[in-house]
Symmetry: C2
Subunit: 213 residues, 2 copies
DNA sequence: TTAGGAATCCCCCTTTTGTGGTAGTAAAAC
DNA sequence: GTTTTACTACCACAAAAGGGGGATTCCTAA
């Protein structure tokens, strides 16, 4: 059976060494390289062909966040497991937004480390509990369809609004849905009344933010 | 020590019973009620004062997703752990969007169940690996600042644009940031040129969707 | 020292929107 | 069988926005 090849970026010498031994002491894991910084990031990856990257967030020179961004650009499928001593929101979010596939605290046990590596390799995303919860909460706020309120827009009104959100002018909307310019204006009046707004712009903002249409 | 009070909604009789015993067999857990449906959802919660809800997604009458929505509306802080036999995207997303704090497969072991309950209670969000990964991916796509392109907008231009996406008219923008109407127009012209758009509306759309400002 | 960017303001003219009406028709609701 | 609604369409006038200029000040970088 092929071992999971892990490439480590960690500036602290002792930790780097201990990660190396930790990984190699697992039957199914193999450390294919360790680096104290991200200077030769791309080369290192190209040369050692890892299955998983273990990346420290706090590093001199290029930090782990930027490193992930680069890795995700050049090797989109290579999962990156972030490790850090901090677990505050901003660190987590930056890491995840940059493209990290998992988030590990350095205080984690050896077994947690090993399991997290297996987990990211197998398509999972190990995260500490609070991190996972925070991610879900943001997910709910930002992605959830959210609104019951469709403001009782009629079919045609929704069509017009949809066209509006594509940046079209009234004339263009008239053309695309094949009604007269004046009819578009009529629909707009009704939309404004229903959304309680008084301009094109406000309608668009409301429609986008509340995910109407 | 107080036990974690768990309220169970599960239509299958056998599973309901086994959950009851499973929970009560744990020293730190206590099943404070089981229900085959969500008919008296609010009352049940009010009466039994649970710390955690264990909710089946597939149920006759009101399904688990809608139930979560209601719970989250009336008891926002009460964590809901969803359990299901399906783990396809749509189930997961609906559940999470509705406000679930965790997602458990019914195939999970007793120990996994117990641990997941403790986990949601302690502010975590237990999810199976692929679910977590999927959530992160969507997170990255939707929430991440994403764009390198800030289109070289200057400070003032960003200010104006920010006001614009609050639905303000040029006049109102002029007032709020204390510059003249004509200056606002000047900034707008520059913004249009930089964003390659030709109207208020288009600028707003681009600004919101690409999370400029 | 000077060229250029950022911010400020003004003018003119055209086009697009916003607001207030009116009104016909067909389908659905009462 | 009448009323409501959705959709259609038009007019008129005012207000706002778009597009073309030009101009001044300040500050920074070449």
């Amino acid at each position: 059976m092929n071992k999971i090849r892990v490439l480590v970026f960690e500036d602290n010498f002792r930790l780097r060494e201990s990660l190396y031994f930790l990984i190699n002491s697992e039957e199914d894991l193999e450390c294919c390289g360790t680096f104290p910084d991200c200077k030769s990031l791309e080369r290192a990856i190209q040369d050692s062909q890892p299955d998983v990257i273990l990346m420290d967030i706090e590093m001199p020179g290029m930090n782990g966040i930027d490193a992930v961004r680069i890795i995700k650009k050049d090797f989109p499928k290579l999962p990156v497991l972030m490790q850090t001593i901090f677990h505050d929101d901003s660190h987590i979010f930056n890491a995840i937004c940059a493209g990290a596939s998992g988030y590990l605290l350095k205080s984690a046990s050896s077994e947690t480390y090993a399991q997290a590596i297996r987990d990211v390799y197998n398509g999972g995303s190990p995260m500490s509990g609070p991190v996972a919860r925070r991610v879900l909460e943001l997910f709910q706020k930002n992605i959830a369809p959210a609104n019951e309120n469709d403001y009782d827009l009629t079919q045609k009104e929704k069509e017009v609004l949809a066209s509006l959100i594509e940046g079209k002018s009234f004339k263009q909307i008239a053309d695309t849905i094949s009604i007269s310019y004046e009819t578009v204006r009529s629909h707009m009046k009704n939309i404004y009344a229903k959304l309680h707004v008084h301009s094109n712009t406000e309608a668009v903002i409301k429609a986008i933010k509340e995910k109407i249409v």
